[in-house]
């Protein structure tokens, strides 16, 4: 199991666990990143952070420090 942060651009992974709590967890999950969801890592911002993802057929971005708390396989 790895964290979303470690996934290379162009790979698709599945969410196993979200280790964030409170409002941030709710926010991430409200946006459709739930257990079992496929995530495609599309791009890394020019300065190296945040990362752009494709989830449930739309695009969003989040910071590496938050991506680190999303376990995937």
């Amino acid at each position: 199991m790895r964290t979303l942060r470690e996934i290379a651009v162009g790979q698709t992974v599945t969410v196993v666990k979200i280790e964030v709590t409170g409002a941030m967890k709710r926010r991430i999950m409200d946006m459709g990143i739930t257990k079992g969801t496929d995530i495609f890592v599309r791009k890394i911002a020019p300065l190296g952070d945040p990362i752009e993802l494709k989830v449930r057929d739309y695009e969003l971005f989040l910071r590496k420090e938050d991506a680190e708390k999303i376990l995937v396989e």
Partner: protein, 671 residues
């Protein structure tokens, strides 16, 4: 009785376009009571007994963000006649997540499937009848951009509102989950209706503390409800909040499988992806970003903008001359003449002269916002902004702040984290706004005629002070803590509708005229009054006026900055009323008998009053000190407290005072 239609949907789902198409010119824009979230409403076209309320764009009805709480409270307590839930049909999965929550309320819902044109262009097919059957609510396909389907939507919505038939919540839960939720439902007191009980039960199950506090049930009952929740949490090895979210998305995924036929993706990139492969490209992102910013600036502030300002000045100049002649013919006294020409017309001119420039700027900013570029800007700038404790979202207020701090401060609304929001509100006025420009231009032309770097260097100082303040303040107690959670959607690019851009611009310009205009006008009349009369209310020359007295009293304060004379002190004070008023104050001082002097007089006057070092210090002070009172008003309304407003203004003025002193002292040595 008035029928109220509530528009609810995700951000970027086309809600605003639809609102503009549904309502006439009688729209009102205000704030929800007690909070700074915008409230918009208007009467439905051709239906004088129907009101449309545009609720904030939200992803969920969670209790965590202000927008979501406002929407929820409106729906639950104000009870609109019908909810029109606008969903982006090209992005159904995430959009329907909110729908599953809306269907649990006691209000009839009509689903408006927007952007059907995009769906068709993609080659996808949606089985609308089947979707309607599965969700047990009416579904109407529309395209808000060209008005397709809107008539049908209104007919359906009004019919549903009349029937008052509420929806049934969807069967989102698994058996284990359902047992717990139904258990909680049974424990609820009977005073609530069946539908509301179901909603409350789900909220209690997912530990929604806002709801739990409001319903006031006994501890004994609460304990039993907790036990029911715990049983489910243990069985699924997850917390209840996550269980509910998972259940909703699970239900949507299963439902859509039978309702939507996606064209097989061959791995080709969409138009939006192609644009992004250039716009957010590793190498090209920043050149493109800076080019766009430069282009906006060049057109809105420099060329077209300054042309429009000059044009307005000419119009008001001619008008003043005409009025003077007219009043001389009519034998009007000199005092009244002076009041009308210098006070009233000058004041109105100061407000309106600014409007064309602001309008052009807002057309550009609305366009960038609506087409989807602003979220890309946040994406590429986030890392840089985070270095000093802000998020990529802080960029937008600061960019808008280059035009005017008032809308810039208002744009901080989109920042969820309160600490980051406050910090952004405090620092946005450091960015030189377009009203400060005339001051810099005048000083640069008068005292640094052959040093072209002087004017632009104000941007450098503004940005440096934002960065330094961010780093320092982030280490102090009121701002320390976690950086903002930062999850942001990147909507597909689209061409904004002309009407939407113009409406958006008009709203901003109107609020500028109302909020800033009245203050600038009052300030102009006040300045005229103070510089025309002495304390015994005799008409005198400015050097003997009340203005001179106040300036003399304040002057010693600015000795360390090198402009300890009453004219500069008073000009700085008028800068608090409106930054561009500094120029007119100096113009009046350079003239005689209360009339503004010529441009050449003004330059000579400034050269006699300032050395290059003290002039530069004065520019720095103008840049950083408390913004104009209109901006202070905006700070007050966004901070929501006077304590924070005074803190912000005090901090800004303190920084300005200290930095201007350092610049003058160091500058005098170098000189």
């Amino acid at each position: 009785m008035i029928t109220v239609l509530a528009l609810v949907g995700n951000p970027n789902c086309g809600k605003t376009t639809m609102f503009n198409n549904l309502t006439g010119s009688d729209q009102y824009v205000g704030n929800w009571p007690g909070v700074t979230v915008a409230k918009k409403g208007g009467m439905l076209l051709n239906h004088p007994d129907c009101e449309v309320v545009d609720l904030p764009g939200i992803y969920s009805l969670s209790p965590y963000t202000l927008e979501e709480v406002v929407t929820r409270d409106f729906l639950v307590y104000e009870h609109p006649s019908v909810i029109i839930n606008i969903v982006d049909a090209s992005n159904l999965e995430r959009n329907l997540y909110l729908t599953t929550q809306l269907l649990e309320l006691e209000i009839p819902v009509v689903l408006a499937l927007n952007m059907m044109d995009v769906v068709e262009a993609n080659g996808d097919e949606i089985d609308i009848e089947r979707l309607s059957r599965e969700l047990k609510c009416m579904v109407v396909p529309i395209a808000a951009i060209n008005g397709y389907g809107l008539g049908e939507l209104i007919n359906v919505a009004l019919a549903v509102a009349k029937e008052k038939s509420t929806n049934q919540g969807l069967p989102i839960f698994s058996d284990t989950e359902e047992i717990s939720v139904r258990g909680i439902e049974r424990l609820l007191p009977d005073r609530e209706s069946t539908q509301l009980k179901r909603w409350l039960a789900i909220k209690i199950f997912e530990r929604d503390n806002k709801v739990i506090e409001q319903i006031k049930i006994s501890n004994n009952l609460l304990e039993r409800m907790n036990a029911l929740r715990r049983r489910c949490e243990v069985a699924e090895d997850d917390d209840a909040e996550s269980i509910v979210i998972n259940a909703r998305y699970r239900y949507i995924t299963n439902t859509l499988r039978s309702c939507i036929k996606k064209k097989l993706k061959t791995g080709e990139l969409s138009a939006s992806d192609k644009i992004d492969s250039i716009v957010t490209n590793r190498l090209l992102a920043f050149p493109i970003f800076f080019f766009i910013m430069w282009a906006v600036y060049y057109i809105a502030i420099q060329t077209l903008g300054s042309m429009s300002v000059n044009g307005m000045e000419k119009i008001f100049g001619t008008f003043s001359d005409y009025l003077t002649q007219l009043m001389e013919l009519g034998g009007v006294s000199l005092t009244i003449q002076s009041l009308v020409v210098n006070g009233v017309v000058g004041g109105v001119g100061a407000v309106l002269g600014f409007v064309p420039q602001i309008t052009i700027l807002f057309v550009f900013l609305s366009f960038l916002e609506d087409c989807g570029y602003m979220s890309r800007a946040a994406f590429i700038m986030d890392r840089a902004f985070r270095q000093f404790g802000l998020s990529g979202k802080s960029f937008i207020p600061m960019l808008v702040g280059t035009g005017c701090s008032v809308p810039g401060i208002m744009a901080t609304m989109t920042i969820e984290n309160e600490k980051d929001r406050r910090l952004t509100i405090m620092l946005t006025p450091f960015i030189p706004c377009s009203a400060k420009m005339p001051v810099f231009v005048l000083f640069a032309a008068s005292l640094f005629p052959d040093k072209s770097w002087v004017g632009p260097s104000m941007y450098f100082w503004g940005i440096i002070m934002v960065v330094v303040s961010g780093i320092i303040l982030k280490r102090t107690a009121p701002f320390a803590g976690e950086t903002a959670p930062f999850v942001m959607e990147m909507p597909a690019y689209h061409m904004p509708g002309l009407k939407t851009v113009l409406k958006h611009t008009w709203e901003q310009v109107k609020s500028f005229i109302l909020k800033a205009g009245t203050i600038v006008f009052a300030a102009s009349v006040l300045v005229w009054f103070l510089q025309s009369f002495n304390t015994s209310l005799d008409l005198v020359s400015p050097t003997e006026s009340m203005l001179a007295n106040i300036g003399q009293f304040l002057a010693p304060v600015f000795v360390p900055q090198g402009f300890g004379n009453w004219q500069a002190a008073f000009a700085a004070l008028t800068g608090f009323l409106a930054k561009e008023a500094i120029v007119s104050t100096f113009a009046i001082l350079a003239g005689s008998g209360g009339d503004a002097g010529s441009k050449a007089d003004l330059v000579l006057k400034l050269q006699s009053m300032f050395t290059p070092a003290s002039a530069y210090a004065f520019m720095i002070f103008t840049l950083l000190a408390a913004p104009c009172c209109a901006a202070v008003g905006a700070i007050r309304s966004e901070m929501g407290s006077w304590k924070w407003t005074f803190f912000a203004v005090g901090y800004q003025t303190g920084v300005a005072y200290i930095l201007a002193a350092i610049i003058y002292q160091v500058g005098s040595i170098i000189q």
